[in-house]
């Protein structure tokens, strides 16, 4: 659609974005508030950030969360990429409907159900709950998101390049690593980042599947929020928002640049022929 946007279009977009961003901006502004009362402005201060860094429980939880997110995102991206290849490249096979069902259902499954069912599984097989059970739980739901992200990229990717490589005697595995993977790399990176943030954010599933010694940051934030809004929590939230924003923007710029370079190289190759 190209045509000048009407006044109504502009107003709805501006109000929409104001609605999306105002609460987050207010939260960040009030993390620099001198006063203990979160809603009364009493001058600029960074003391809540200092207090946050000195809060050992909070820092431990942040470290656990970062480790869980890193490990689970990495495994989820590998599994999700395999799942996307199966969905897009393997055509029909026995059990395909069940497979695609198991990929799409977790995307919308209420977290309380996923959390409860995984906990009952861990209890049934007598697995000690802690770091690794949270990791397994996070892999299971984020691999489905990863699969969807990679799949959307694979759909638009022409199979003729892979076929050409295999016709020339390249084994499928090598064709994948040297032809397909470089092309879908931006999607694989965004799948990893999405998995990472999903794990970073999760409260409900982690609460069900965790054990002693594996308290994650969202669990810590939640238990403090229940006691009331504090500027210290505002500070923690602001740091998390900053980390995610910088990460996402950096990744999108990098993948954009790679994409441009790749297109330029392709054009150069065609021109050279």
């Amino acid at each position: 659609m190209t045509e000048r946007p009407s006044l109504f279009n502009i107003v709805s977009v501006v109000f929409g974005f104001a609605f999306l961003y105002l609460p987050i901006l207010l939260l960040i502004i009030y993390s620099f508030n001198e006063s203990r009362l979160v809603t009364v402005w009493a001058g600029f201060s960074t003391k809540w950030y200092v207090q946050m860094i000195n809060n050992e429980g909070l820092m431990n939880a942040a470290w656990v969360t970062a480790r869980v997110a890193f490990v689970s995102a990495t495994i989820a991206t590998v599994l999700g990429t395999l799942a996307a290849i199966v969905l897009i490249r393997f055509g029909r096979f026995r059990g395909r409907t069940l497979f695609s069902g198991m990929i799409y259902a977790p995307l919308v499954m209420p977290e309380v159900i996923t959390g409860l069912s995984l906990l009952l599984l861990f209890v049934a097989i007598n697995l000690d709950r802690g770091f690794w059970t949270v990791v397994i739980a996070h892999i299971t739901f984020s691999m489905c998101f990863a699969a969807v992200v990679v799949q959307s990229r694979l759909v638009s990717f022409d199979t003729s390049l892979e076929e050409a490589a295999m016709d020339l005697g390249c084994p499928p595995a090598r064709a994948f690593f040297s032809v397909t993977l470089p092309v879908i790399m931006p999607a694989v990176i965004s799948a990893w980042m999405l998995s990472f943030t999903l794990s970073l954010d999760d409260l409900v599933i982690a609460s069900f599947t965790t054990g002693p010694g594996a308290t994650t940051l969202p669990m810590k934030i939640y238990s403090q929020v229940r006691l009331g809004v504090t500027p210290e929590i505002n500070a923690v939230c602001s740091v998390l928002i900053a980390v995610v924003t910088v990460g996402v923007l950096a990744a999108s710029i990098v993948t954009k640049r790679r994409e441009v370079e790749r297109q330029r190289a392709e054009r150069a190759a065609i021109a050279g022929n």
Binding site: M1, T39, I103, P110, D201
Partner: protein, 307 residues
């Protein structure tokens, strides 16, 4: 390498690629549901784990048949008798349905405006919609507490401009829950709608307008019907998780807010009644199975269309 052997190796490789994610999901996604289902028929016990065993592998088929006659439907009867559960289910469905409609109402003009923005702005606008989605759900819900509180920023602003004399009670009511759901799920509606509206052929609308069709009528007869796949995808993505939502009703809602996710949570963590929480989960899943299957069917059709 013999070509025969080569083909054999390829076939094994294919099987492996299917098997790894397949087995993972069977073990960690499907099998847990079977266990939830099984435990929902057992009785609560003060022990760890706090439920009586139902089926064991060691008893064999005869043992299983025996056990079938002893299955306890008490948990389900209990759910039917106690008004708390029925009201939670109904109220969850109502809150989710109303919120989905509100998200559509607010999200559609945004997506429409984005689709008509100059082409070079669109990637930035999409990024701006996605960015809050990457930020923690919990944090975004938490941000609203400070705004909606009695002495919060919204009341301060409204009193400040003289619109109201007394601060309004919004936090810990259903209104706060609606605001929270609309806010948190807005990107899920805007993105599929935008993807759909962006591809829309402008020539159709121009033709209608040239032939003297009123713009509003042109919208309802052309644009809206053509954007239905986007509307459907967005509505599924909002409605299904909203039914089982826990964080929003827990932090923004009050004692009047009954939602099944919250009920399940307190049944599990406060009452430590695993069998009843399993039964709650099974019923919730039964309610959601139709929209989930529709969603999955829809997604697969869209993916195949893309191919």
């Amino acid at each position: 390498m013999m070509p025969d052997e080569h083909a054999k190796r390829t076939a094994w490789g294919r099987r492996l690629v299917v098997a790894i994610p397949y087995i993972w999901l069977l073990v960690f996604f499907l099998a847990p549901f079977a266990i939830v289902f099984k435990i929902s028929f057992s009785e609560v016990q003060i022990a760890m784990p706090p439920y009586a065993p139902v089926f064991g592998w060691e008893e064999g088929f005869a043992g299983w048949l025996d056990k079938f006659s002893e299955l306890s439907f008490d948990n389900y009867l209990w759910l039917g008798q106690d008004a708390l559960y029925i009201n939670s289910y109904l109220s969850s469905l109502r809150i989710a349905a109303v919120s989905t409609f509100l998200v559509l109402l607010i999200g559609y003009p945004i997506a429409y405006g984005m689709a008509r923005a100059p082409t070079q702005w669109r990637p930035a606008l999409v990024m701006l919609v996605i960015l809050p989605f990457w930020t923690s759900f919990l944090i975004r819900v938490y941000a609203w507490i400070g705004i909606l509180k009695k002495e919060g920023l919204l009341n301060q602003a409204l009193v400040g401009i003289g619109l109201i004399d007394e601060p309004l009670t919004i936090l810990n009511t259903n209104i706060a829950v609606y605001i929270g759901i609309v806010y948190s799920y807005l990107p899920f509606m805007v993105l599929p709608l935008y993807a759909n509206l962006e591809k829309l052929d402008r020539a159709l609308i121009e033709a209608a307008l040239d032939l003297g069709c009123h713009p509003i009528k042109a919208f309802w007869t052309i644009t809206f019907p053509l954007s239905l796949p986007g509307v459907l995808a967005g509505s599924f993505l909002v409605f299904i998780p909203a039914v089982g939502e826990f964080v929003i009703p827990d932090l923004l809602g009050g004692s009047e807010t009954l939602m099944i996710g919250k009920t399940l949570w307190s049944e599990f963590f406060s009452n430590r009644d695993w069998p009843v929480s399993s039964a709650v989960a099974v019923l919730l899943l039964l309610i959601l199975v139709i929209p989930i299957v529709l969603f999955q069917h829809f997604q697969q059709k869209q993916a195949e269309k893309g191919q």
